[in-house]
């Protein structure tokens, strides 16, 4: 199975998954509870994140590249620039054209963008330094329902199988996407290509449904009765508890400070 985790023997990689999951959730929670425009606090949160990246001996650019997936979601907050609270200011573009924007809205938009980016980076750090089964074990330890964890585990397992299936399908399609000197216009119309893609997706859905039925039958034949069993995790060591408490305390302090700085 394809693995997101990047192998290394850094202290962050070696740390217990429960510690990392808790600290990541605390990081995201406290950061997002901080008020808008608490810029110095955002910088401190960024410093914490960068320290973790360095401690994990990972390339900062590699993490940043993966965070690009959050960009389209940030755009959802873009209208705030124009629909934010009054007063609205005018700026001229291309000489005579004037647009109005809200400086307060702009500040909120940037705050949301920074928070979203930092939160995504923290989540990506977690997945880069922790194997997925370890993350699931940590979630089970904190009482996340076993059925939900089983669904996550199966999704993770079958996502890559479906990915391989898509790859083989696209290979087969590309092998028949040919050109002949006898014709002028090749490639078909946009509508036709969209239909072909739609058919491919539909076919993939049917196969996935059939696979899930076979998988369920295989689970039943091995004694599955709706209950999943996981191995009992060891208790956290004293050092791990100390790291966990200090980490949460530090993040909590940063949030507390933000209440005196932000809007």
């Amino acid at each position: 199975m394809w693995q997101v985790r990047m192998e290394s023997n850094s202290p962050v990689h070696r740390a217990d998954a429960r510690v990392k999951v808790t600290l990541t959730l605390a990081f995201i929670l406290f950061l997002n509870m901080a008020p808008h425009q608490a810029w110095p606090i955002y910088i401190l949160f960024l410093t914490v994140l960068l320290s973790m990246i360095l401690l994990a001996r990972m390339s900062i650019w590699r993490v940043i590249r993966r965070t690009l997936l959050v960009t389209p979601f940030i755009l959802a907050a873009f209208p705030l620039i124009f629909s934010g609270p009054v007063p609205h200011l005018s700026i001229s573009i291309f000489g005579s054209d004037v647009i109005k924007y809200s400086p307060e809205g702009l500040g909120r938009f940037i705050s949301i963008a920074v928070k979203a980016w930092l939160s995504t980076s923290a989540a990506i750090m977690l997945t880069l330094t922790t194997s997925f089964p370890d993350i699931l074990t940590a979630l089970a330890y904190y009482g996340v329902p076993k059925l939900f964890i089983a669904i996550l585990g199966l999704m993770w397992r079958y996502l890559f199988i479906i990915n391989d299936e898509v790859l083989r399908m696209m290979r087969a399609r590309d092998s028949r996407s040919a050109v002949t000197p006898c014709t002028q216009q090749v490639g078909g119309s946009l509508f036709w290509r969209a239909r072909v893609t739609g058919s491919m997706v539909g076919s993939l859905l049917l196969r996935s449904l059939e696979r899930s039925v076979r998988l369920y039958a295989a689970m039943l034949s091995r004694g599955y009765n709706g209950e999943l069993f996981t191995l009992e995790a060891n208790a956290l060591s004293h050092t791990e508890r100390r790291i966990l408490s200090l980490g949460v305390l530090l993040l909590g302090v940063l949030w507390g400070m933000s209440l005196f700085i932000g809007d």
Partner: protein
């Protein structure tokens, strides 16, 4: 007779570092039917996928004298029709007609010409009554036939078949071999079904760990028990 396929010093390494082909040199003449035999992981499928540029390694592959490289791929793919091992990978449309029509439609043929090509291709695989059926509901043997029709409709000069008899029951297997024997195209068949190689092809290339170990008349290779045992084919 001029070679229709010419492979010079082809090596291919997968992104995970596994070298699948080592310095392959192979020439196939127009109209030849050649079996590529070898154990699992010998490099048979990799070699087939290199014929139409789906995989591109070091060295050179020429089809009808045209080199397989990025700018020629669309022309190469009209000449080399690959039939994949799993027909489900190849059949993605709601009807047999649309699947068989995909190639000619992409090539930009008129509606009348596309219908004619589909009809001919389905007649060739004796599946003309299935034109409006959903490929998803066909048997494995029927899907294999339709998959062959999808490349026949493009009038490819070369048919590259990857394990064509895998997962077929004896009857479907027998019918498929009879069908392949009727087709006039140059054929390269990757298989570890030695009976298929014996019945269908005149020449056999034995691959092992990405290298050509033997290239001879099919009967000579298949009668060499020691060679087959040494390369896990017996």
């Amino acid at each position: 007779m001029n070679p229709i396929i010419e492979i010079r010093g082809l090596s291919y390494t997968y992104p995970d570092g596994k070298q699948a082909l080592h310095e392959i040199n192979l020439t196939i003449k127009t109209g030849e039917k050649v079996a590529l035999v070898g154990a699992n992981g010998a490099g048979k499928s990799t070699l087939l996928l290199s014929l139409n540029g789906v995989l591109q390694g070091e060295g050179a592959v020429f089809i009808n004298g045209i080199e397989v490289k990025r700018e020629n791929l669309r022309y190469i793919r009209a000449m080399v029709g690959i039939v994949f091992q799993n027909p489900d990978d190849q059949l993605f449309s709601p009807t047999v007609f649309e699947d068989v029509a995909y190639g000619p439609m992409y090539q930009g043929f008129s509606k009348v010409m596309v219908q004619e090509r589909v009809k001919q291709a389905l007649q060739a695989v004796r599946m003309e009554d299935y034109v409006n059926r959903n490929p998803h509901h066909l048997s494995h043997g029927e899907k294999k036939r339709i998959a062959i029709a999808t490349v026949l409709s493009m009038q490819s000069q070369i048919l590259a078949l990857d394990e064509p008899t895998s997962e077929l029951d004896p009857r479907a297997r027998r019918e498929l071999i009879a069908l392949l024997l009727e087709l006039p195209q140059t054929m390269i068949v990757a298989t570890h079904d030695l009976d298929l190689a014996r019945q269908l092809t005149t020449r056999t290339v034995l691959l092992s760990q990405g290298r050509i170990i033997a290239d001879d008349i099919t009967t000579n290779i298949l009668n060499n028990e020691i060679l087959l045992t040494d390369h896990e084919l017996n």
